[in-house]
């Protein structure tokens, strides 16, 4: 059982069986307020997961995730960090590993699995990156491990340039406003099953901190 946590856009959490069966899901679409809701949402999916899959008749049993899937972004930094911090802390509390997953992989997996004929053309998952920029990752179908194939790594583009850039890459644009935590957890489960790593442990900030080096102190006399 995998607990998925993503705060790269809103706040999304889910508990998923390794085969993809969703035991519980909860989210807040609010692009802010991640710190406020993260604890309540995790507690809620753990509680909901006790009841087992829909239709299950067995007595409720405490949900015991074996892994935590952490959405590593890209996304606005302040919110993104809340989910990664929570994923690491929960994993520490339970003594289980964190599986870092690029957040766009979850959105791509959702698009690919929703396509019944598995013939989705090359496409780009596009999300808000604030400051008149968008984050995008280009995907090329699904591989033998059931994971989306990244044709480019996550990157930023000014709003006005993205369409031209995607045309150059031959990718259709798919704007996404939320990351499905269940798909994040499923991607992590498939990566674990295949012995693969989807991302290193670092957040996908894609931007250096916005700071300027101080110049000489301002003069106060005329």
């Amino acid at each position: 059982m995998i607990l998925g946590i993503d705060t790269s856009l809103g706040t999304a959490v889910a508990v998923v069986e390794p085969d993809g069966a969703v035991r519980a899901e909860a989210h807040s679409a609010n692009p802010l307020g991640h710190a406020e809701v993260i604890g309540t949402l995790i507690a809620q999916v753990l509680r909901d997961a006790e009841r087992g899959p829909i239709g299950a008749t067995a007595a409720p049993a405490p949900a015991a995730p074996t892994h935590v899937a952490a959405g590593m972004g890209p996304g606005p930094f302040t919110g993104l960090r809340v989910g990664i911090a929570a994923a690491r802390a929960f994993a520490l509390a339970r003594g289980i590993p964190v599986i870092p997953v690029p957040s766009h992989d979850a959105a791509a997996l959702a698009l690919l699995l929703a396509d019944p004929f598995a013939d989705l053309p090359r496409f780009a998952v596009v999300t808000d990156a604030r400051r008149r920029e968008l984050a995008y990752t280009v995907y090329d179908g699904i591989d033998g491990d059931g994971l989306p194939v990244r044709a480019t790594e996550p990157a930023l583009s000014p709003l006005a340039d993205l369409d031209a850039r995607l045309a150059g890459l031959g990718a259709e644009r798919r704007d996404v406003s939320g990351i499905p935590a269940a798909m994040l957890a499923l991607a992590a489960a498939r990566a674990v099953a295949a012995g693969r790593t989807l991302a290193d442990g670092e957040p996908l900030y894609l931007r250096a901190p916005d700071v300027t080096l101080p110049g000489a102190p301002k003069r106060v006399t005329g």
Binding site: A35, I38, G39, I42, A89, L92, V211
Partner: protein, 350 residues
């Protein structure tokens, strides 16, 4: 849970120190601090985004190090505590996200507490019995506050605070003006060692008779900063750095100690507690002790490792809340960068 001597893990991420502390009741078991100070040095001050990134990277290793030092496991912990404010919002949120998930993952209660009151709680860990009421002067790069503490868990009053820069920031800015590196506190202290503190009479902010009605216990350091800058600019090529540093430091220390002892006198509280990183300043401690002794005021100064921002003080405050029977916080709170000092615990369950 052991309500007489609870084992509490505290998480503090309000500024540039990632602090993890573990206490058992009044006993300090671990005080682990990872600072991102060096990363801010080139910018001449704390950069919030740099601090927040550093917190995320430091949290897990710091928790593991604190547990190892305390010789306990997470399963032993009775409660998790976290700073919910005041402080840098983005930095606070890292600690809050981690603390909530830790508490939910362990199925343990969570206490969200006030950073400034945490500074006062640090004194409990020194082992001596703390007496209330006490006046508390908290001075750091992030805050300069004068408090009247009647009871640690139920009655803390803000008497005054800085209207502009924190005292620590003033040290950083004057250091830059004098061409000294960041952080300014120790650099000014070093430069001032050979200087004459009476060489230049710099202004004492918020200390005029006309300030006394409304700002008796408030502080202001921006006028002092401008005065020092003007003095340096007009003094030509040969700036007597030692004298300027010593005179500047004397102006800051004078205002801090004068207002703190005034609060002691007017509230008839012969006790003064010092906290915050600027307490490391040798001259501040010296003047405070000297003038407090003359005024018949007993001064308490926790060890420096408990004065600078740390997680042990957050754990200590939560332990006090638990001992006094307070319920845990609910999970709904967020970061409050301007959390008032009267909110000692945030989101307490009713």
């Amino acid at each position: 849970m052991d309500r007489t001597a609870p084992l509490v893990l505290g998480i503090e991420t309000s500024c540039d120190e990632t602090g993890i502390g573990i206490v058992r009741g009044h006993t300090l078991l671990s005080n682990t601090i990872a600072s991102s100070m060096d990363e801010h040095a080139r910018y001449g001050g704390v950069v919030p985004e740099v601090a927040a990134r550093a917190h995320l990277e430091a949290l897990q290793p710091s928790i593991e190090a604190a547990l190892a030092e305390a010789g306990v496991t997470l399963a032993d912990i009775d409660a998790v505590a976290v700073t919910s404010g005041p402080g840098l919002a983005g930095a606070l949120m890292v600690g809050i996200g981690a603390a909530k998930a830790l508490a939910v993952g362990l199925d343990k209660p969570l206490y969200a507490v006030n950073h400034l009151v945490g500074h006062i709680a640090a004194d409990i860990l020194t082992g001596d019995d703390v007496e209330y009421p006490t006046i508390a002067l908290l001075v750091s790069g992030g805050h300069t506050s004068l408090l009247l503490v009647r009871d640690l868990v139920s009655n803390v009053e803000l008497l005054g605070e800085t209207m502009d820069d924190a005292a620590g920031e003033a040290f950083d800015k004057i250091a830059r003006i004098l061409g000294l590196p960041y952080p300014g506190g120790p650099e000014i202290d070093r430069a001032a060692a050979t200087g004459d503190p009476t060489a230049i009479r710099f202004p004492r902010g918020m200390s005029r008779a006309s300030d006394m009605a409304e700002h008796r216990y408030d502080f202001s350091f921006s006028g002092l900063k401008t005065a020092v800058a003007r003095w340096v600019e007009t003094s030509g090529a040969d700036v007597p750095v030692a004298d300027v540093a010593a005179s500047f430091r004397e102006a800051v220390v004078d205002v801090l100690v004068t207002k703190a002892l005034d609060a002691c006198a007017r509230h008839d509280v012969p006790r003064l507690l010092l906290g915050g990183g600027v307490i490391a300043n040798r001259r501040l401690r010296e003047v405070a002790l000297e003038r407090a002794a003359a005024a018949g005021v007993a001064v308490r100064i926790p060890p420096l490792s408990l004065c600078t921002d740390n997680g042990a003080m957050i754990a200590a405050l939560a332990a006090e809340l638990i001992i006094s029977g307070r319920p845990a916080s609910t999970l709904e709170f967020g970061a409050d960068s301007t959390l008032p000092v009267t909110e000692i615990q945030v989101a307490a369950a009713s």
